[in-house]
Symmetry: D2
Subunit: 346 residues, 4 copies
């Protein structure tokens, strides 16, 4: 039933929040979203005051943020595009203030199975255990069944979305030689580093540059191991900063045991993602590239296999603000409300 | 003895050739290099006619190319910045025409231990076996001792230089768990793809894009395996195209057996590259980045080790036209002539 | 009346053609466009064979190109995204073969008032005079009234669209001091230079570079003078290549006589473009930027005036593939068919 | 007389300061420069601690900054790469503390003929009038004669260097029709905007973007009018931000009266810059480009003239950190000390 939904958005000043605003303004089943802004923007009354470049695309009212205002706003679904700390507090508060609210949280706060995982990797307080217990990890290709009844969706991280979608069919089938280990070499555009000006996001420091960062400490690591069921010691996950605005490309390495043929791999992925319109499997020997997924909600997956059928390289590619954040949040909304999975996303 | 050397260059119209010209014009021990150009440029008489942007930096005479002209030019050392096919023919011909000539060949033709390796990977005729037998693989950090007497130096590929320098200390020490395999995820700027206009080097196809290419078929693969002594099946080497002009960053993965401490790794590299000024080892936890080596002849190497001391990531970084091509060619010249290793390179 | 329209497209392999395909696939009043391809692509049967990255967005049939096939295809409107030479021949032939066809031609062939103008600036044969006589210059903000009955629309050039929209209100009002001259300093992204690989569109030649080109000879010059009514000697139009994929920003200079206040300028533009949704006038003191119009059909116009009210700088900004080509073609279709002006463009 | 000079540098943490450090480390007549750092870096003892990427290039001692320490350091020439406010105070203080010191100030504080000009455009206190009275405007192509005895050199701004060098021959010859006005449309890379992270220098805000800024208010305006002798009302100077790290390209427009031939223009420039090695005049019809001057101290100048010989476009191009800042500072040092003009700059 495609009845329209009333939504609210908390936090629109980051890159993911802005992307979410753009998607919601053109979503066919959303009438007019309401945006709640922090004090710094208390006098902003509509979205085009904040983002004049949206003029002509549509507009939406803005209101000062408070848990009470959001809870009483009439919104049925609330998107939180807020810092981890804010989500940690606001999610339980909102659900307490209005138990019929449903929340898609884009922060990392409600993504993990155990509260301690978040606390340990993010060096922040653990999320409320009871609230976390009802959170669904919002990767629709894996957990779509849980969305229609979910009251809280932890929207996945950008890197984990690319890595988990890229490896899950193989891991689920038990085709990998786990003892040899899996290497995930991931590269992201700069919107993934946030909108706050910092030395390391200055144009001159990124342009004509490339570097690895946060080796063995990246906070997206436990999302990957949880949903791939890997032992930490057999798995390496690295992240690099690309001199582009948008997009993640993950190059994923493993050894197959026993050896396989390329057609088998292709068939495995084709079957696993059959009926999932936002994942596009490329034919054997064709590799995805960033430009083909930038500004879309697609995750493109391709692979190469050596002649012996043992060494496998999977390449998984998406837009970190699309399928890696705001687009996936909309896809989760579609799943929660029973809309077509691609509604508002093409 | 720093007596000046007379050099000739064949091929200056590619990116590596131009970079070589720039370096030779400012080298303290080279008086005036002579450039030999193919028919298409037969009427060019000096370098600044071809490259007006060099005006003010210096100039050098250009002459029509023939084996005879080069052999009789008075040059003591000849650099070939030519296609593989041209080097295959010209190297033996030049050495036959003038046995006292010494050659640094920047193509792939004389880099391998066995002629068949080249033929198999490059899909071209094999190099002359007798000529190949006297070729030195021009990676001065490993084979400097062979340079003073070398008549022919096969200048290494850009990717192999970064990978071999990054892994050789570990492999030589036997610290890696070879059974788990080694993964080399390499990324290069676009000058590595050559100057010839192609669809895949068009600005619009590279800009804001990123992709892997030539998986399991890249011609630089056998250079790496030869000089690291790795079994092909335990080793994966991939290449990606970065939207930058210059630079290679290789992220290198392996498991240590037994476990080690970061200080041990740092000491191993420090000792291995002691006295080698063009390799800069970064302290544990500091990682290299492209900008710091672009337009230099340095190879910067850093690493990260997990808490257990088992999972190791080495990052090796250089300029593909510098240490990966023209700079290394000059470094080889320095070794051949007994000049300081960094002459003309700082 | 928003009845659906059947359209055909000739030429989809350039950047503008591809952009047009993307727009037509999502246009609400177009059912399924048909694409006609040249011999080189004779065996392509659908658009996603040619552009796999469109998978999931929609698809459309492809057929071998011939005048007869297009004329008999059932299409009511035909878009020609073809080289000038091809349009010169195909437009009269199509109109002869099927007099009820209506054509939007994206080439330069049918943009000028007199056939000689094209011949002189393009160094090509003049277009058929009778055909040209019925062509409408497809800048809807100026000539929307002519669209509903137009059988042939010459879709404007990218630079002229930005310059004419930026200056027309002032020129029409007679506010400029023509005797002092008008300077148009225009900068474009690389998609404007075409998809064909050339030395000057190689990534390495464009990246970290910037240059002026075609001074006093750019073929877009006469479009500007025709629609601004300027004497060639009082007008300078220059073009530069920006290291970005998409977008044109034109900085337009003139002296006002008599002096004016900023509010007068703002009011003049506001009135001139009242009711034209694809032109966005920015408040005095706010200047447009490329990112705000990239991938849109908007033309953003802002200005700065000196304290004396005499020296005026107008900045006009659009996407060369959007409002400067494919988007404008769709806007022309909307005008021809009576659809809302923004249909399929937001 | 090429006796070595002892120099000190105050301020090395900005882009111009770092570039200056690089140039000084390789200058043949400078033994070892001393760097003076503010409190934030009080414990830094050598340059490679601050910039590890300089390892291998050379090194230099760092000391805590105080007027007394600089004055007593033994330095004969001091470079100030400091904020305007700091230079305003430090220049008179240093000259008072050690009257034999000679200073090259890279800030805007001592560039203007009258103290009020600085105060008005920079919204800061006026510089000390007596100190300013002895300052030389450090554009060696115009004022080289004053350098050998100068105690204080105000190093020019980057934009003014490109505009003044581009137009001075024409203005000095009286060839321009001043009544029609002169338009200077300038574009700069992002290093010109400083190293401090700001919203408008964030990679994502600059990349794939382009915009004009500071129209009619740019602080470099009065440098241009002073040295070209133009009436403010007949002259427009605009600045734009290019998505590149380094370089300025200025497109300069005017009308000639009477008309001239291209050869006359070429001869005028050739004569004007005869014997000035850092300005390269391009032959008529050839236009400069950013890449050819990036990382050099050259200013390249080309032009195009219409068929009538009236409308003239001059393009002037340099590296904003080279000839536009640090390189020019070294060129000024060379002039002050009688070294060859290009010493340390090729």
């Amino acid at each position: 039933m495609n009845d329209p939904v009333r939504v609210a958005v908390v936090g629109v000043t980051g890159y993911a929040g802005y992307e979410l605003a753009r998607l919601l303004l053109r979503h066919p089943h959303i009438e007019s979203p309401t945006f709640f802004l922090r004090e710094a923007h208390a006098n902003v009354r509509c979205l085009t005051e904040l983002f004049p470049q949206l003029r002509g695309w549509g507009d939406a009212p803005c209101r000062p943020l408070s848990v009470e205002a959001v809870a009483a706003s009439g919104a049925e679904v609330v998107f939180l595009s807020t810092p981890h700390e804010a989500s940690l507090e606001m999610v339980p508060a909102l659900l307490a203030a209005n138990p019929r609210l449903r929340i898609v949280d884009l922060s990392g706060a409600f993504r993990f199975q155990r509260p301690e995982t978040f606390a340990q990797w993010y060096k922040l307080p653990a999320p409320d255990a009871k609230t976390l217990a009802e959170a669904v990890y919002g990767l629709p290709e894996l957990y779509a069944d849980a969305l229609p009844k979910a009251r809280l969706v932890g929207n996945p991280g950008c890197y984990p979305t690319s890595v988990i979608l890229g490896l899950r069919p193989l891991v689920a089938a038990g085709w990998m030689d786990a003892a040899r280990g899996i290497v995930c070499d991931c590269k992201s555009g700069v919107t993934g580093a946030g909108k706050e000006p910092r030395r390391d996001t200055h144009f001159v420091e990124v342009n004509e540059n490339f570097r690895a960062y946060n080796l063995f400490t990246h906070r997206h690591t436990p999302e990957v191991t949880e949903h791939l069921g890997l032992a930490a010691g057999d798995f390496v996950f690295t992240t690099h900063l690309l001199p582009v605005a948008r997009g993640i490309l993950s190059t994923l390495y493993g050894w197959l045991k026993p050896a396989r043929k390329a057609e088998e791999i292709e068939a495995l992925y084709g079957k696993f993602y059959n009926g999932r319109p936002m994942v596009r499997i490329l034919p054997a020997g064709t590799l995805p590239e960033l430009q083909h997924v930038a500004r879309t909600n697609f995750c493109d997956i391709g692979f190469a296999l050596d002649a012996a059928g043992e060494r496998l390289v999977v390449v998984s590619c998406l837009d970190n603000l699309g399928k890696g954040a705001a687009g996936q949040a909309v896809q989760n909304l579609n799943g929660m409300r029973g809309y077509p999975e691609t509604a508002g996303l093409l």
